[in-house]
């Protein structure tokens, strides 16, 4: 039995400790906002926060997440997260939308650590998140808008 603390709630789970956190979230707990894209930490669709840091849940075994605070897109509610979601909405960033949970989780992590990121810092911080609809121009703009709103 492994207990995961997800969005502030403890979930005792009867699963193989090697199971990636992504699949525990999606298949066992039923939180499907976190997406599967590649399975090898190349695309960022599975990004969640572990003790406040963005990680790729597709390669993180649940054994490594036990005892830590896991935050998923369903559980974000800080002022930074709200600013990000508002900016994403106002700029109509999304197209297919499949990668956007991961994009927003990376953006929230960036703004948590860097209140006014430069263009280069945004590009670098977001380079691990692929968007095949190529909404990158708007993601950049939304991150800047969120930073302005938080300033």
């Amino acid at each position: 039995m492994i207990t995961l603390t997800i969005n502030g709630t403890a979930h005792p789970l009867d699963i193989d400790p090697a199971t990636p956190l992504l699949w525990a979230l999606r298949d066992t707990v039923g939180l499907t906002g976190t997406k599967f894209g590649c399975g090898i930490a190349q695309c960022g669709a599975c990004t969640v926060h572990l003790d406040g840091n963005a990680i790729r849940s597709c390669i993180t075994p649940v054994s490594a997440a036990q005892g830590k605070a896991i935050t998923t897109i369903e559980g974000v509610n800080t002022p930074v997260a709200q600013a990000v979601q508002i900016a994403w909405t106002q700029l109509d960033v999304v197209q297919c939308g499949y990668c956007q949970s991961g994009q927003m989780m990376s953006a929230i992590d960036l703004l948590n650590k860097n209140k006014q990121p430069s263009d280069d810092q945004i590009d670098t911080a977001m380079a691990g998140n692929i968007c095949r609809c190529n909404t990158y121009v708007r993601i950049r703009a939304a991150i800047k808008a969120a930073a302005r709103a938080l300033a």
Partner: protein, 730 residues
């Protein structure tokens, strides 16, 4: 202009002629959608629904709570069709945008056909184009009935009833919401013909209205196939053969079956399916399989060998796609002859959501949940496999996490795979087929590998007088339901589009085609034939311009006199990019390309900077687009930005290659795609004002960037590139 209406027209009625009559589906076209038909589909009859629903046609439902639901017949895969089609209804209904909700239509070809096709499906950038009048009429009809109900209730003339932002009113001071009149409007007769607005009266069409899918997608409430969870549902993964054409001989599944949670291992036509309680268990089960493959019929070639085969084939004339004037004679007298050969690799679509499908097979019914893109074809293929009627195939169309053509598979590949698992198991249980990224990348259905030869003869002034273009590559449509309508006289329209309808005025034009067969499955990929033909045409014309020592924009202008819409986007992009200003300076370059696809005209100017290590970056892209009436300018901008990015990704790094018949790539580490640092810092989109009927924007932004970029590199370095992807160092 004959070249500018070709594509949608040629797709029209494709299924009617090929799959229609015998298959048991009525593929009629409902121009207004205003039928009183009893099998009008998606009435949700569950008990909590209000009884007093006003549903004047298959597309509009108005409830007493004042909500207006627009039923969307096209797949929302990111292109914005939920927003665009809803706008058309809201405009004619004079609804408030806030009261509009959207819902995906069920599979029902009779009610929800793509009017260009005669079958339900999304593709060819046709959603807005085919629905423009249909959805407006649906809204106008609903409005007329609301007005009639208000006039009756208030005892005034219908012409005196004013409708604005979801409210009906009269000069006497009387007013009512749509919801308040819904019940009464439902009792009004459905008018046979209702006029639609004069475009000068539009107040929603042409405005940037917020996307209808944004709130769900920003707050992780959008449900994709990947997210479907049904009672007792099992998850299936399939082990596919390592090479195209290989088949399963036998499989030792003893280790797989020892894993707790692995419930079934079944052989299906496409491989071995492991069916388990969840993804991770199914994956562990699949990893434990020990298969024996029969590879006696498998393809063992490399991409290089295929390319060499194609080059040899190109030594012989192909099937003629177009032949104007006399190219052979003209070449003899040309002052100068320039020739080139071009290479294009296989490309994977690489949607963010790998292919997947949920299927539940029950006696006399099969229900599916997935991002269905050609519902009618899938229904037919499933009906045949399962020995059901197409009407017994119930499809719930969900959001698709991208498609770029992939989900519109003319062979229903992943859908049939899911159904084959359900059929083999013969349980009532829902089965969710999931592909991993590796499955998705190696399953085929690629943009075909192409080889081109091209030759132009120039007169003394450097202007082209003869143009000969030979294309070699697999036919996408051969053997599919699209073949009879879109393969004419041996020429697959998707192989030559963008080449055979060359917009440049060259009196002697000859384009021919070889369509060799290979066991590598191929499919359309965002903008289809234009992905390679636009590159060849637009880089070659650029080369001719520099050979003639002429400005590439001026050279194109001279040849586009009969194509005002090409000319207009060319001029707009050039103007906005500052084309006529002084050169960009050392280590910088600027290139242009113009191309029509799906009746939409796009020109792009790319600016590049060369770095000390010979790498380059794309700094700025200026895009001009003419897509007729701009229904939602912001959605158009988004599709131009994203479509350009998709094409840029392929231009910089897109390549699926075969070695000994095996696909060398497997995931994003070896099939790199565009990431944020590679996206140009500045992407500007300019829309040509137009009163022409609207055309699509999902695809036409994609094929223009690769030639614009290559021309920019040539401008900076003097070097031209005849293969995609481009080298990283130039």
């Amino acid at each position: 202009m004959k070249t500018e209406t070709k594509f949608n027209i040629s797709r029209r009625h494709f299924l009617v002629s090929t799959l229609g009559a015998g298959a048991g589906l009525t593929l009629g076209v409902y121009l207004s959608g205003c039928s009183n038909d009893k099998d009008k589909a998606p009435l949700n009859t569950s008990s909590h629904q209000p009884q007093t629903l006003f549903e004047p046609n298959a597309f509009v439902r108005i409830r007493p709570d004042n909500s207006v639901t627009v039923v969307i017949k096209h797949l929302e895969m990111g292109q914005g069709t939920y927003t665009g089609l809803a706008t058309l209804v809201a405009e004619e209904l004079d609804a408030a945008w806030d009261q509009i909700k959207v819902e995906s239509a069920p599979a029902n070809a009779k009610l929800y056909s793509n009017l260009f096709w005669g079958a339900q499906g999304t593709g060819g950038s046709s959603a807005i184009a085919n629905s423009y009048m249909q959805m407006r009429q649906a809204g106008a009809t609903a409005r007329a009935m609301l007005v009639a109900a208000a006039a009756k209730r208030w005892n005034v003339k219908p012409a005196e009833v004013h409708v604005s932002a979801g409210k009906l009113s009269h000069a006497s001071g009387k007013s009512a919401s749509f919801g308040e009149l819904a019940e009464a409007a439902a009792k009004e007769p459905i008018p046979a013909e209702v006029p639609v607005k004069d475009p000068k009266d539009f107040h929603l069409i042409g405005q940037t209205l917020p996307r209808k899918d944004t709130p769900d997608k920003v707050h992780a409430k959008a449900i994709y196939t990947q997210d479907i969870k049904l009672p007792a549902m099992l998850t299936a993964l399939v082990l596919h053969p390592p090479r195209f054409g290989a088949r399963l001989q036998s499989v030792d599944d003893s280790e797989a079956k020892k894993i707790p949670g692995v419930q079934h291992v079944v052989m299906i036509p496409t491989g071995v399916a492991v069916v388990a309680t969840d993804f991770w268990t199914a994956k562990r089960g699949r990893d434990a399989l020990k298969p024996q493959w029969d590879e006696s019929q498998a393809l063992r070639k490399s991409s290089e060998q295929i390319r060499e085969d194609y080059r040899q084939l190109a030594e012989k004339p192909g099937t003629v796609a177009v032949n104007n004037g006399d190219t052979t004679a003209t070449f003899k007298h040309a002052a100068k002859t320039i020739s080139a050969e071009y290479d294009f690799p296989f490309l994977a679509h690489a949607t963010m959501e790998p292919m997947n499908c949920v299927v539940q097979l029950q006696p006399n019914q099969c229900e599916l949940w997935y991002g269905a893109q050609i519902q009618t074809m899938d229904q037919m293929a499933l009906a045949k496999l399962l020995n059901l009627t197409p009407e017994q195939i119930k499809i719930n169309t969900l959001y698709a996490g991208g498609s770029f053509g992939r989900r519109a598979n003319p062979q229903s590949d992943y859908v049939l795979e899911a159904a084959n698992i359900a059929k083999a198991l013969n349980l009532n249980t829902p089965i969710k087929l999931l592909w991993t990224r590796e499955d998705d990348m190696r399953a085929g259905f690629y943009r075909p590998l192409y080889y081109h030869q091209i030759k132009a003869g120039l007169d003394k002034t450097g202007m082209p007088v003869a143009w000969q273009h030979r294309i070699v590559g697999q036919s996408i449509l051969a053997g599919t339901g699209f073949e009879s309508a879109m393969v004419k006289n041996g020429v697959d329209a998707t192989s030559v589009e963008g080449a055979s309808n060359l917009p440049y005025h060259i009196a002697n034009l000859h384009v021919d085609l070889h369509s060799p067969t290979l066991p590598v499955p191929v499919q359309w990929w965002r903008s289809v034939g234009s992905t390679h033909n636009a590159y060849v045409v637009e880089t070659f014309i650029d080369q001719l311009a520099s050979t003639a020592k002429q400005d590439p924009v001026a050279y194109r202008r001279a040849l586009l006199k009969d194509h005002p819409r090409h000319l207009a986007v060319l001029n707009l992009a050039a103007e906005k990019a500052g084309w006529d200003n002084k050169p960009l300076g050392k280590d910088r370059g600027r290139g242009i390309a113009v191309h029509e696809s799906f009746n939409t005209f796009v020109a792009q100017v790319a600016e590049v900077t060369l770095h000390a290590d010979k790498t380059f970056s794309v700094d700025r892209v200026v895009i001009a687009v003419d897509c007729g009436v701009a229904v939602n300018p912001d959605v158009i901008r988004a599709q131009m930005e994203g479509g350009m990015g998709y094409g840029l990704s392929a231009a910089l790094s897109g390549k699926i290659s075969l070695r000994d018949g095996q696909v060398e790539q497997s995931n994003f580490h070896d099939y790199p795609v565009l990431r944020m640092p590679q996206m140009p810092t500045s992407v500007e989109v300019y829309i040509v004002p137009s009163a022409e009927p609207p055309t699509g924007v999902g695809e036409p932004g994609t094929p223009v960037i690769a030639p614009a970029l290559a021309n920019a590199i040539a401008n900076a370095t003097g070097k031209r590139y005849y293969a995609l992807p481009l080298p990283t160092a130039v």
